[in-house]
């Protein structure tokens, strides 16, 4: 079996991370932003799995971390969407520009 | 347990206060707590007297030592020597008097008395601590209530004053903490790092470390006792505070600083020697300049607050002079000023309750209407200007005698200038007294001369403080024996 070099996978995760980051900075819709964050989390997951496979093939720490992150991300999505729904009820909008009540 | 009771009693009183209902219950409980405490302190004084080896005022009695926080080797270590005993006695006297004069506080009375008791608890804990961390802990306990007492029950620009006082005192605490930490890490004791005062005193901190950390600790404590130029919280804080808080603030709380300065000077003798010139300079400025600034004040509370700056200068002067007599004088001045200024604030508070003004220009001839309060005012004033027979003279003359033993010419000049304050004090006290107490009647409003004189609680409060002043002024030998053997 032809081994895929680690660098390819790292390239993929880096690309995914910056795509997520681009989305986070440019979108105004909170749900889109949440999706962008999910992208970034997944890029991290890929990193964990890849490093685990290539550097410490006899251990499972990276995989565990990935599972943790997936679980936390799910919980986070649930909380975030609950907040967004409340926000929408109050503001009739989920535009991030309009959620500035918490500033100084 | 003998000494811990000094903390436990107020603590129990404070907790019980939280479960009280109604003004009546609250003040009866607060007063009985303070009275029991006073009686206990008097009894403790007798026991102390009996147990102390003759003539040894430095002996530490009633020691208790428990390990409190192992990783940092912090102990709950308490005990008293003669000086601490004198300060505790002062605290107990002022606490009873302060609670008596706030008999008629209606607003949030439970919380008010709770905070007063908490403040006194902090003071007791501070004076009996032999562990620097415990000392610091109780110092902080005594700061917070002041902020609330002024901010909630005060008058005038109370929020501003409360904030100013709290910030300056907190700044002082921060400096104190730096100094104490420096001592903690530099004292070469056998048991490793320790906050224990006695062990540190035995071990002698290296001179370099002393010189580095002494200013922090001294200035930090100095802020509490109105060290120039950090005294500006005193006038604003006192004038905005309610009567009892003023009494506690000037009578007890400012003494925490003086006591702390004294302990630091004794703990770091080389540094105290090295910095004594600066201490004396600042103290002399505080004495003279405070007195001059007092002359121009028009509000009675401001007059007493500025005169406190001047009088507390004597405490620092005595400490800075470093002779045994001068330090004894500093302690005497702390006790004397505590009693006298509490009495003065009590008298001012009583006048204010009736006339609703503290402006000297608006008052006059009150001796005719309220002979008792006026007499109290006169006695406090005479004590302030150092009349023999009252405590102020004993303290001041001891500071002068001790200060003069320093043969250095500059110290002599400082002493002469400090002596000059007896004239300046006479000027501002007599100006205020001549206008408010004597002269044609004024300031009584529509009630004319039917304003009531002092009530039983006010008479009792003044009586307690005046007794203290007279006992100290007429028989100074016992208190000198107490503090210096």
């Amino acid at each position: 079996m032809n081994e895929i070099p680690l660098t390819h996978i790292l390239f993929l995760s880096t690309a995914l991370f910056f795509i997520g980051m681009y989305g986070l900075f440019t979108r105004r819709n909170l749900i889109t932003m949440l999706m962008a964050i999910e992208l970034m989390l997944n890029s991290v997951n890929i990193n964990f799995v890849a490093f685990n496979k290539y550097l410490y093939p006899d251990k499972l720490n990276g995989v565990f971390f990935t599972l943790f992150i997936i679980a936390v991300a799910a919980a986070e999505a649930a909380v975030a969407i609950a907040i967004f729904i409340n926000l929408y009820r109050n503001h009739r909008s989920i535009d991030v520009e309009e959620t500035e009540q918490m500033r100084y | 347990m003998l000494l811990s009771a000094l903390i436990i009693l107020p603590l129990l009183t404070a907790i019980a206060l939280l479960f009280c209902n109604g003004l009546r219950q609250v003040r009866v409980l607060a007063l009985s707590g303070a009275v029991v405490q006073l009686i206990y302190v008097l009894w403790l004084l007798v026991v102390y007297w009996q147990q102390r080896p003759a003539g040894d005022a430095a002996a530490i009695l009633f020691e208790e030592d428990h390990l409190w926080f192992t990783p940092l080797n912090i102990h709950y270590h308490i005990g008293v020597d003669g000086i601490a005993m004198a300060m505790i006695l002062l605290t107990a006297l002022v606490a009873v008097a302060g609670i008596l004069v706030s008999w008629s506080v209606e607003k949030l009375n439970r919380e008010f008395f709770f905070l007063l008791v908490l403040l006194s608890l902090g003071a007791y804990g501070f004076f009996i601590s032999l562990d620097l961390f415990t000392l610091f802990f109780f110092l902080e306990v005594a700061v917070i209530p002041k902020f609330l007492l002024i901010g909630i029950w005060g008058s005038g620009s109370k929020e501003y004053s409360a904030m100013k006082l709290a910030l300056l005192l907190m700044g002082g605490s921060a400096l104190v903490f730096v100094g104490l930490a420096g001592i903690y890490f530099n004292a070469p004791t056998a048991a490793g790092h320790t906050f224990d005062l006695l062990q540190i005193a035995r071990a002698a901190i290296p001179a370099e470390a002393q010189k580095l950390f002494f200013p922090f600790a001294f200035i930090g404590f100095g802020i509490f006792t109105a060290l120039f130029p950090f005294h500006t919280w005193v006038p604003d804080g006192h004038s905005s505070a309610p009567t009892a808080a003023s009494m506690f603030l000037a009578g007890i709380s400012m003494k925490l600083g003086g006591y702390g300065c004294l302990r630091m000077a004794l703990l770091m003798p080389e540094a105290a020697q090295a910095y004594s010139g600066i201490i004396i300079l600042l103290a002399t400025i505080a004495i003279i300049y405070g007195a001059f600034a007092t002359m121009m004040q028009t509000d009675l509370k401001y007059i007493n607050a500025y005169s406190s700056v001047s009088h507390c200068g004597f405490v620092l002067l005595g400490i800075g002079m470093l002779t045994k007599t001068a330090i004894m004088g500093a302690v005497l001045q702390m006790v004397s000023h505590g009693l006298m200024t509490a009495l003065f604030f009590a008298a001012i508070g009583m006048l204010y309750d009736r006339t609703h003004t503290r402006q000297v220009a608006q008052l006059g001839g009150l001796l005719k209407v309220m002979p008792f309060i006026a007499t109290v005012f006169v006695i406090a004033g005479l004590c302030s200007l150092g009349l023999p027979g009252l405590s102020g003279f004993v303290a001041e003359v001891t500071v002068f005698m001790g200060a003069w033993q320093n043969e250095d010419a500059l110290y002599r000049i400082a002493t002469v200038l400090a002596c000059a304050s007896i004239v300046l004090t006479a000027v501002y006290i007599l100006r205020a007294m001549g206008k408010v107490i004597m002269g044609p009647l004024a300031g009584t409003g529509s009630l004319g001369d039917s304003l009531p004189d002092a009530g039983w609680n006010e008479k009792l409060a003044a009586g307690i403080l005046i007794t203290g002043i007279l006992v100290m002024g007429i028989t100074p030998f016992w208190i000198i024996q107490l503090i210096s053997g």
Partner: protein
Amino acid sequence: MQRPFTIDDIAMNYSSYIALIPLLPLAAFVMLGLLGKQLSRSAGILATLIMLVSTVLACYTAYNYFFVTGKVNGVYPPVAAFHYNWLPFSPGLSIDMGVLLDPASVMMLVVVNFVSLMVHVFSLAYMKGENRFATYYAFLALFTFSMLGLVLSGNLLQMYIFWELVGVSSFLLIGFYYDRPAAVAAAKKAFIVTRFADLGFLIGILILAFYGGTLDFNTLIYQLTATNSSPLTQSPQAGFPGISLLTWALMLVFMGGAGKSAMFPLHIWLPDAMEGPTPVSALIHAATMVVAGVYLVARLYPIYLLDVAVLQIITWVGAISAFLAAIIACTQTDIKRVLAYSTISQIGYMLFALGLAGYGHTTTGYSASLFHLFTHAFFKSLLFLGAGAVIHFVHTNEMLEMGGLRKWMPVTHLTFLIACMAIAGIPPFAGFFSKEEILLAAWENNRYVFLLALITSGITAFYMFRLYFSIFWSRTRSYPHQHGEGSWTMKVPLVLLGTAAVLVGFIPFADFVALDNQKEITIPLSFSIAPVTIAIAGIALAYLLYYKYNPGPQKLALALGGLYKMVKRKFYFDELYLFITKRIIFDGIAKPAAWIDKHLVDGFMNGAGRATARFAESIKAWQSGRVQSYALYFFGGIIALAALIVYWWT
């Protein structure tokens, strides 16, 4: 000049009851102070009875001291009857509450007690009906206690303690009519001026105590006079530019005395102090407190002898005060103020006599001075009580509104005349003898002072008889409320003091109170001619101008013009002091101090607070509330950290 130490076995005779002499008035003060309201009228009687007991004890002490114990080795020894360690400062240095008997203190003991008793009795009628009758007696008792304590002090700081107590009781009594602004102002002035002088006293004590190593009078005198190695006496370097510490110390102590004795230029408080009740003036501002300065110098006299410069200062301060005060007295119309200035003048006599005794050919000035103090106490308190009786009768202090009073007040008239003769120095009244001794001392030691003193005694006779004629002769007026001269309680003290003013001059005073090596004082008859002549001339002038009401005095005043005005305004001393206090101290120092405190020191604190707030204000926009900009900071931070870590690791 070594004095023997106290002799303990003699001391045993005294200890118990002497303490009672000052303590009895103290007990009276406490009793009247606490129970005054309940006692009301009987308060005065109680205080008077206590004073009577105290006076008897004082006389007994004097008898015991002078006649039972008597002389040891030709002098009356100082006896420290007992002392109690009151406030220990350091080994050797402590305030001891004690009693020191020596001829001067025993003499003062009798004088103070006697005059105080007379004033107590007199006040029974004078202060009758006063609201605060009991308070008045309480204050009187407090004063008497303090004055007796001062007199008996055996310790420098003990003396200072009572010195201050005397000052405060004087303050309370001057301000007794507390609702009169003038009385309040006078009380404040008296207290503050004397306090200023006491500052000097205190610093002087500090110097003396430090170098003498003790505060006890006898030991101190012994230490400083016997051991010449004391740094105090030797090195002027130890002092301030060119003046030795001893000179400083003695000058400063004298400053305290000059303040209490109202000497030039600290005399300004005494005339104003006349706002107090008149019997109080008789006690405090004539016979007792104001001579404390003389007494103080006499007490420390062996030390003063070490320093001629200070004695010269004392001499001239005394002489100038005597002269200036006498001149001012000629122009005053308030009868009490005339008497006040005459008091200043007479104390000036005592002081220059004391000063002259130290550096001239003879030392008779010392006992002459104290003799004058003794006689002066009687005739001056008599004058004040007489003035009190007059004021009680006419209800005014103004001499111009009186006249012809001899018809209504025969007893007062007669006793007042005796006192005037005494103060003018007419033989055989008491003042003649003492003044003659002083003049003799001046003649023998310093002719300039003698000349000044001689002129002053002429002026004294003039203004005293100006007062006498204006009150009792001049034009007769009718007085709206003609009650009698006063009850017997007012007359008895006058008569007793009058008798004393006639008789006490015959006491061979120098036998009792004198310096150890003083020679007998013999006044040649021929010497008396000049003073008596000049006194009679003064009286004659007063007779011409004031015996019958005539426009003469006014014409004279007009003719003198500016000069008269200047004297009448007391050489503008009050204005000068007012300028110093108001313009220099209040406006020049206190106001700037208060301003600096409010604006610079506190301004700095407030500024620090404001600077913090402004800084926070300026960076608060960073917290924009925009999630995306936070994310940007966040990632920027991570990148920066990553860059740093990579940089450090490679």
